[in-house]
């Protein structure tokens, strides 16, 4: 195994292996996690083995078993459709007014699959390899292999459902390539792939609603998990229209509630994306893994002012044809970019990473954009004391392919850009800047996607397992659908083979306790009667997170952030102002619950980031870099998943380590040069 942490790579003031404990005092160490339930043996056989060994449930018994699924994105929608079709009783929940509006709908660029339609050297193994490498060797090998393996079926399934993927003239499916890879394996539907995939899953799910196997609860927010006699047995949800607190019981609970990037306030996530479902489960005993791994996406529309409520992504597929540059000379930064001659432009990604160029992975592209701006070569308006933008230029592509071809590929993205910025990207280069986009952290799950609470399964972005410290483009959609259509239905079956479990009813103490805690919390929010709005707290938390736990982190900054968050939390609970009542639609009340959970999560993210004194993927610790400023991993110290256990009161959280063992792949320093 090549050593990525040779002593010679380290600066002298760093301690030797075994001595890093930046987070001493902020956590206690728990037992390691030894069993992930992945079958042994050759990696290519593991999923087949697991599927075969998973016990069966006969069709007559399936009708007697009930499943709650929170979330109707790709992960939850696909699972509801598949499990409903299999004959189980499914109850599906989402906070939007329709399942079709889940945040997956916003995904633009595409979905990977190892179809090798281009015969360009792709294979299941290569997709596996690229994904593990792209995640900077911090994902779980057996999960990623399975993902690559089932990717092939996903495309078949979606096409059968009528997903209108892009096609070539002969009627066959078209592909493009995405950041971090050198083959064309990304399937897409113009810039709206997530929308089309989600509509496919949504329609499949609606078919089951009509068939009576799936019951839908829209505008319902899950606020608590019910853990009775050691198993997840239901949820407490608030009907967001009537305010009624409802108890829903089942044999098993699935969380497919998406990611928590909104902890940063400004992100590319939907306004309602939240951590509540996951965080409530965490408080009930589910471990939270690698919470600090945040993906910063390089191609977002830059921030224009402090009124902004969210950031908009420009699909990374644009990097296939757009060239990224900044002026070589600082004084050119305020010029019209069209007046800057070729020789005065610095196509910095092509210069530094000649073999990947503009297609380097997201963490690298993001960090380099930040470096350019920090150096004073950013473009666009001044925000704070520097310009936060680099150019993404389509001039060459338009010359090479013609405007029509470019239009056909990216039209809606160009329109969106023009609408937001008021500039026409066919004429003036786009301006882009990195923004928070996706979280690789999430609830810890084993190979079966089961959390540390028996009977609580977690899928899609809400779990942690497949993307390591950085997610390659077009792989989250793949994971959501893989989990929902092809993985969970098998693993949950094995769990349900022990069911139906003892009936519990609303008088069970676990139900009473969960209900009461939800009711008390709501009353608390409404009764604080302070002076500050929920949004003002959310914004302040977001600033702290972006400043100290964003693109670059230092031990000092993280310690400071933890103190600031603790103060913010105390202020929140004494000075919050939520108007209106609990028994109607009340959007401030909904946000209050979400922000309260984000504050607690933010603190844990900082502790996790403080503990991890290495740079890997989206986690860049300034203390750990090579001489030329690239991320420096420390495999001897940190090749583990950090799984955090919640503790009550002022007790510090408990860290459980799961060692990452690679048998089918060699851990290497990641290089795209």
């Amino acid at each position: 195994m090549p050593d990525t942490t040779l002593t010679s790579d380290r600066s002298h003031d760093e301690p030797s292996p075994g001595q890093y404990d930046d987070a001493a005092g902020y956590y206690t160490l728990g037992d390691p996690i030894v069993d992930t339930k992945a079958p042994q043996g050759p990696i290519a056989d593991r999923w087949q083995t697991r599927k075969f060994e998973a016990r069966l449930v006969n069709p007559a018994n399936r009708r007697k078993l009930s499943i709650i699924i929170v979330g109707t994105g790709l992960a939850g929608g696909a699972a509801a459709a598949t499990l409903g079709e299999a004959g189980y009783n499914v109850k599906s929940f989402c906070y939007q007014d329709s399942a079709r509006r889940a945040h997956s709908i916003a995904a633009q660029g595409g979905i990977n699959a190892a179809k090798n339609y281009k015969e360009d050297g792709d294979s299941v193994h290569r997709l596996f390899y690229d994904t593990v490498k792209g995640g900077d060797y911090r994902s779980r090998e057996s999960n990623v292999y399975r993902l690559a393996e089932v990717s092939v079926n996903i495309i078949d399934q979606c096409v059968a459902q009528g997903v209108p993927f892009a096609r070539e003239y002969g009627g066959l499916l078209d592909n493009r390539s995405f950041g971090g890879v050198q083959v064309s394996r990304t399937f897409y539907a113009r810039g709206q792939t997530g929308q089309q995939l989600l509509i496919g899953a949504y329609q499949a799910m609606q078919r089951q609603v009509a068939a009576g196997t799936v019951e839908e609860f829209t505008r319902h927010e899950m606020l608590e998990v019910i853990v009775a006699d050691g198993r997840a047995r239901g949820i407490i949800a608030r009907n967001m229209v009537t305010g009624e607190i409802e108890t829903h019981l089942a044999d098993v609970v699935v969380l497919a509630s998406g990611g928590y990037g909104n902890v940063f306030f400004l992100s590319t996530n939907a306004m309602g994306s939240n951590v509540t479902a996951a965080w409530r489960a965490h408080r009930k005993g589910a471990y939270m893994a690698n919470p600090c791994y945040t993906q910063i996406h390089p191609t977002c529309i830059p921030v224009s002012g402090d009124h902004q409520s969210k950031l908009t992504l420009m699909s990374e597929s644009l990097r296939n044809d757009g060239r990224i540059w900044v002026p070589k000379k600082k004084e050119d930064c305020t010029k019209d970019p069209r007046d800057i001659p070729e020789e005065d432009r610095d196509y910095y990604l092509e210069r530094i990473y000649p073999s990947f160029g503009n297609l380097v992975p997201r963490d690298i592209a993001s960090r380099q954009a930040k470096n350019m701006c920090d150096e004073g070569r950013g473009v666009g308006p001044m925000v704070g004391d520097f310009r936060r933008g680099v150019y993404l230029d389509f001039k060459d592509a338009i010359e090479r392919l013609g405007e029509d071809a470019v239009r056909e590929k990216y039209d809606n993205l160009f329109d969106m850009y023009e609408r937001i910025t008021g500039e026409n990207p066919y004429e003036v280069p786009m301006r882009i800047y990195p923004a928070v986009h996706y979280v690789m952290g999430g609830l810890w799950v084993d190979y079966d996607l089961q959390s540390t609470i028996p009977g609580l399964f977690v899928t899609g972005e809400a779990n942690f397992s497949d993307h390591g410290a950085n997610r390659l483009g077009a792989s989250a959609l793949m994971q959501g659908l893989a989990d929902g259509y092809f993985v969970l239905p098998h693993t949950i079956r094995d769990y349900l083979a022990d069911g139906p479990f003892d009936k519990i009813d609303e008088s069970h103490e676990a139900v009473v306790e969960a209900r009461k805690s939800v009711e008390d919390r709501i009353q608390k929010f409404l009764s604080i009667n302070g002076t500050r709005s929920v949004d003002s707290y959310h914004k302040e938390l977001g600033h702290i997170m972006w400043e100290y736990c964003g693109m670059e982190r230092t031990a000092e900054g993280l310690r400071k952030a933890i103190d600031m968050i603790r103060e913010l939390k105390a202020d929140f609970w004494s000075n919050l102002k939520v108007l209106g009542s609990a028994d109607t639609l009340n959007q401030s009340l909904e946000k209050a619950g979400r922000v309260a959970d984000f504050i607690e999560l933010g603190e844990l993210m900082c502790i996790d980031a403080l503990n991890r004194r290495e740079s890997c993927g989206g986690h860049f610790r300034a203390e750990s870099q090579t001489e030329d400023g690239e991320a420096l991993r420390h495999d001897d110290e940190f090749a583990y998943v950090a799984a955090w256990e919640f503790t009550e009161g002022d007790e510090p959280p408990i860290l459980h380590k799961e060692d990452l063992v690679y048998t089918a792949i060699e851990m290497k320093q990641r290089s795209y040069k």
Partner: protein
């Protein structure tokens, strides 16, 4: 910019509701329409008045959640969603009237929030292809001619926002319906259920209380995804064919 806003406030479905007037100041041209409302809501909250309820989620024009009548037009003066409408489309000092979607099949829940559950029920009645998970044939085994795929894609982009219904004097959802019928009807995979689909979906549409289409065309003019009016011709044609064959 300073603006006068006349906004529909309605405590719940049973309340009658009425327009209230608010002043906002310090609005920048770069704000989206919804960010302008966020500013107003912060003001209201500070003054002890309950913020205005309105729907939004993605704020990128793709989820179809946002839904406002702005000066009598769904999503306002531009062909886009409310979240993608920016304040540069308005003038300083303007008075803007903001109401919820108007259609009897979309009852108001509170303030500017309506219930569009009828759209889901229309999809449940047949807006899908029955493909069970796990048994799909190899994707490239059925080529789809590029023009058909493009047409299917262009209409599959409907975001289910309901602007077409809100714009239609008859409160018809024919554009929404036509978009789905055309999306699935253009593809080889959609053929086996094609005729039952159209009959069932139109039946559900009428049952939900949406009006009939009289070819006024306001729907297509208001559609943020520019779904073309000819999907309604496709819908009618499919319906005729289906009836002829006794579906």
């Amino acid at each position: 910019m300073n603006l006068t806003l006349r906004i529909w406030r309605q405590a719940d479905a049973a309340d009658r509701g009425s327009l209230h007037t608010y002043e906002v100041s310090g609005i920048s041209q770069d704000m989206s329409f919804l960010e302008m409302l966020d500013v107003l809501n912060e003001q209201l909250n500070a003054n002890g008045e309950e913020p205005i309820a309105f729907d939004s989620d993605c704020r990128e024009g793709i989820c179809g959640t946002c839904s406002l009548m702005i000066n009598g037009e769904p999503h306002g003066p531009e062909v886009t969603t409310t979240c993608q409408l920016h304040m540069r489309s308005f003038k300083d000092g303007e008075t803007i009237t903001i109401e919820p979607w108007r259609a009897s099949a979309f009852p108001v829940i509170k303030d500017l929030v309506v219930d569009r559950g009828a759209f889901d029920r229309i999809i449940q009645s047949g807006g899908f292809i029955s493909a069970n998970t796990g048994s799909a044939p190899e994707a490239n085994s059925v080529p789809v001619p590029r023009d058909k795929a493009m047409r299917a894609f262009n209409v599959a982009t409907c975001i289910g926002c309901g602007a077409c219904v809100a714009a239609c004097p008859n409160g018809s959802a024919s554009l929404f319906l036509g978009a789905k019928i055309t999306h699935l009807g253009e593809l080889p995979q959609g053929q086996p259920e094609r005729w039952d689909r159209v009959v069932d979906m139109v039946g559900q549409h009428d049952y939900e209380g949406f009006g009939g289409c009289t070819n006024i065309g306001e729907c297509a003019a208001a559609c943020p995804k520019e779904i073309p009016l000819d999907v309604i011709s496709q819908l009618n044609k499919d319906l005729r064919t289906a009836m002829k064959h006794g579906h």
